[in-house]
Symmetry: C2
Subunit: 211 residues, 2 copies
């Protein structure tokens, strides 16, 4: 097992072999982790929120679910989730434009998950697509009412809550500790926090599942 | 005004200048029209369902809404909608893989909106991206319950109902008359139908809005 401290506002890309897994630990309890996956052998294709929603007939994913890629192939499985299970599939990664909408006036762009996605891909030598795919927003709380209206609320997860994503193909997983500090996405305090990642090889993940 | 009959199961790409508009007429009342837009000057970028949902805080769009691109710029506006206003932003374009899931066994792929998107782009000399962006599924009825579960229901639109999309930039609009005949997406009869398109230049659209 390899442990990685993902610093608040930053991202990383991790190669995970088929059968291996990534554990995303919400160390402080209130931090959203934007998460993507692309195929190691065909990185133009990867995790798709829209195809995953459609196959399950649900806006949200939960433990036990298989997550599909954009060609509808099984790519990941949620094998564990100790949080209340509130995650988002509807909202795009935050971007420089989003922070300007919220009133950010800096000369340089605000840190953002779209840029973080590009940085992480570049760090492992992968091309950056023109459009950032919709991420799986782990721990993000976007309650939807019966009329389809939604809000951006603080996470309901607790310190130490985690999700385990098992790779069903050889993938590159990308995680961004969301830098949102102008809305309660990362908690009422609006302070982005670190996240801990643990990477399990296939033998270690098999042992997790059997224990 | 230019009128185009879009044959059931097929697609087309139409250049619309800023200020012009496309009217999508549900001739038979029950036909879903998967609709996309890309910028004429930068076709790697275009209409984004995820950014449009996020800016409005709603799963669905309606008359009066501005629709954003993936860089959060206003791209289209829904200036008219004579239907009950039930359209979908959640579901990806149907694909060859989707029909195989539903039991299709043909040697060749079933007609599908993802392939139609590519055909339409190619027809106007534009590149086809690896991933098909999520379309605006005009007239598609995907009711969502309070727990976030949804179903694929028959449209509630009536023959002759239409939507007008005004271009806020110079765009290429792509429309696919969805070939879904294995689920009630295009009505309980599951028979894909033609759609009529009308293209208005900026002067004609200005006149529509002022009349």
């Amino acid at each position: 097992m390899e442990a990685i401290k993902l610093t608040a506002r930053t991202s990383t890309a991790i190669r995970v072999a088929r059968g291996g897994a990534l554990q995303v630990i919400n160390t402080h309890g209130s931090q959203v982790a934007d998460t993507w996956a692309v195929l190691q052998g065909d990185p133009d294709h990867g995790l798709s929120m829209e195809h995953t929603r459609a196959i399950h007939g649900r806006l949200h994913v939960r433990a036990g679910d298989v997550l599909l890629d954009d060609r509808r192939q099984p790519l990941l499985a949620i094998t564990e989730d100790t949080s209340p299970g509130i995650h988002d599939t509807l909202i795009p990664a935050c971007s420089a434009a989003r922070y300007r909408e919220l009133g950010y006036k800096g000369e340089e762009d605000h840190d953002n998950c779209s840029a973080n996605y590009g940085h992480a891909l570049t760090s492992v030598g992968l091309p950056v697509p023109a459009r950032t795919p919709s991420p799986l927003n782990l721990f993000m709380n976007v309650p939807v009412d019966i009329e389809g209206h939604f809000t951006f609320a603080a996470p309901v997860s607790q310190p130490g809550d985690f999700v385990v994503l098992e790779a069903l193909e050889d993938v590159v997983l990308i995680v961004s500790a969301c830098p949102q500090d102008m809305a309660p996405v990362n908690g009422e305090s609006q302070e982005p926090q670190d996240v801990e990642l643990r990477v399990y090889n296939p033998a270690e993940q098999a042992e997790r599942k059997n224990s």
